[in-house]
Amino acid sequence: MNSSRLFSGSFSLRELHPATIVTVVFLIAYPSFASNFFILQIGAYSLILGTIALSLMMLAGYGGMVSLAQLTVAGLAAYLMAILGDNSMGVMGLGWPWWLTVIVSVLGAALFSTFIGAVSVRTEGIYTIMITLAVAVAFFYFVRQNYVLFNGFTGFAGVEPPTLFGVYWRDPVPFYYLTLTVAAGFFFAVYYCARSTFGLGLQAIRDNPRRMRALGFNITLHRIVAYFFAGVIAGFAGVLLVWFNGRVSPGTIGVDVAIDILVIAVVGGMRHPIGPFIGAIAFVLLENFAIDLIDRERFNMVIGTAFLLVVLFSPDGLLGLWNRFRDRFRFRGNALLGAERVNKDDPASTGSLEKS
């Protein structure tokens, strides 16, 4: 198989749905009417979390590999930014130029992700969750213990994006557009990838690894390459995350946060790359405004309950809920048929995510 065909797919502008155009216009115009808090704390933050969750969605939705270590990968990129670039803690901070730091951080994260992939693809199904969770927890304890490289419990602070073209990129509006560009870029990349030969191969491997192996596909390589791409996505998100927070510490990559990423991806829906972003918006809104409803301390309870309800009653997440609603509306009186159609027609439905 030659490499130019590997990523080829088909895409035409005529397939654009009006809702897509409305969303795009809304996202671009968003800073013109939203306050700084909404631009940064809601908008940009959702996009960053959504991008990390997107890397998980790509692995889990198309590859059937639920990796809990995607936040760890993003966290490694964030740490590398602080270690190779500048920070205000007096530990490490090699002072490399920003563009080199970004490239090395993302590549480092991608290689780490590839490594995790190489370790975990030898086993299947439920093992993947266990191994990646173990990696995530081990990395968390490692950075907390290690003071030489990772400055232990305190972590790093004072990591800032560069001032470029006379714009300070940490200001709300430029930062929002930066995250939007990255998120949208990866969204379309994943969307396109799913229809490319590689993406279709990955989905076929998810559904029936034995048949694909018999057809002559190298299924281990496909999976590891998927981990590499997911690592690139998560790495960029990690760079944005450290610029957003200005600091990175073991708390940033804690297990609870890693599980939050899973919650975001599952609540949003793993059938379509838009799912993680919907999940991230819901999560961030809930995180910021649940205080008004209940005690802030009990936020995890709310998130846990929401997650549990989604997993129990709508395995496809909010997206699945919407599709079911739409189908019921279309096939009124024949709702069962509609529900079945969703699962059978869409190869990316969670129905086929389980191992056969």
Binding site: I126, M130, L133, A138, Q145, V148, L308, E354
Partner: protein
């Protein structure tokens, strides 16, 4: 054993030599050059004992995890929460009644009941859907962790075990010989030795239960072929409930034992979940023997890592996991 020696004579000799060297390092008085390279003998022996007792504790937690998986293919990621729940309940009961043993018993029973509820209300509804079960247990563990934080706050609790478990015992291992000619013996906390003893006892009891009783036979049959077991007239659902109760109960039991050896605080659930995960990944899912071997390896690795290269201790544990996965993806004792 005999066939192993015949088939792999070279490795048998290597293992034998390593064992002899190990025993010599434990019982002999260290010469100067060894002290120069490894530090004091006391540190070494204490680390070794700490590792073995920690391994015992990990075995208590992980055996329940692996038992549940072995029979039902359920990955119960709420297992760490069960550990912590057991510790808290045990603490409350022991604190109110003044009896540590009563607390231990109640923790076992209460967590076993919570396990039965989990099996009955959650797992039975989604049999065969591994991924969903795992996600549900993650959700449950988030809620449980938060609920426990709400009830017991972030305070660290300390158990008070019976007096005779307190204190330290002299071990028949000479640490150094003073210039006056007196031998200094190594002291070790009695409670930690008791933990090891309990772990061994539980391990033996589980082995006897699984290999020498009728119910154990049903469980083993269920591990191999669940449908055939059901077809031969056994109420599989009852066996599932029983296994879940034992597995969860062991987590609660370990909560009190481990909580007494160390302390009880939020975040311990994640620590012991990690321990169980790594132990069963290394040892092989579904195997009690594997859990014992894995727990011993991980306990030792953790303690030696902590003592000899503090900032990279976790990496050692992780490396062991990676090496095992690279060589034997199904774990040391895993079947399939």
């Amino acid at each position: 054993m005999r066939s192993f020696v015949e088939r792999h004579t070279f490795w048998a000799i290597v293992i034998l030599l390593a064992a002899v060297l190990f025993l010599w390092m434990i019982f002999a008085v260290w010469p100067e050059w060894l002290i120069d390279t490894l530090g004091r003998k006391k540190t070494f022996v204490n680390t070794l004992l700490n590792g073995v007792t920690l391994g015992g504790l990990y075995f208590l937690v992980a055996s329940g995890f692996t038992l549940i998986f072995g029979l039902m293919r359920n990955v119960n990621l709420a297992h760490g929460s069960m550990y912590l729940l057991g510790a808290y309940i045990g603490y409350e009961v022991a604190d109110r009644t003044g009896s540590w043993f009563f607390g231990l018993a109640i923790a076992f029973i209460a967590v076993a009941i919570s396990g039965i509820l989990l099996q009955y209300l959650v797992f039975r509804r989604m049999a065969g859907d591994d991924l969903r079960q795992t996600l549900v247990t993650i959700g449950i563990s988030i809620i449980a962790a938060d609920a426990m934080l709400a009830i017991w706050t972030g305070t660290t609790y300390q158990f008070s075990p019976p007096d005779w478990l307190f204190g330290a015992a002299d071990l028949p291992i000479i640490s150094v010989i003073r210039s006056s000619g007196d031998a200094v013996y190594i002291k070790y906390p009695i409670y930690r030795l008791a933990v090891l003893l309990v772990a061994v006892a539980v391990g033996v009891a589980l082995w006897v239960f699984l290999n020498r009783t009728r119910i154990g036979m049903m469980i083993r049959a269920g591990v191999n072929d669940r449908d055939m077991l059901a077809a031969s007239g056994v109420n599989v659902q009852m066996v599932f409930v029983l296994v879940f109760a034992i597995g969860a109960g062991l987590a609660g039991f370990a909560g009190v034992i481990g909580g007494t050896a160390l302390s009880v605080a939020p975040g311990e659930d994640i620590r012991y979940l990690l321990a169980s995960l790594v132990v069963v990944i290394v040892g092989g899912l579904g195997s009690i023997t594997g859990a014992a071997i894995g727990a011993l390896i991980i306990g030792l690795a953790e303690q030696f890592g902590l003592a000899y290269f503090p900032t990279y201790g976790v990496v050692l544990t992780f490396l062991i996991m990676v090496v095992v996965l690279a060589v034997r993806p199904q774990g040391l004792m895993g079947g399939r």
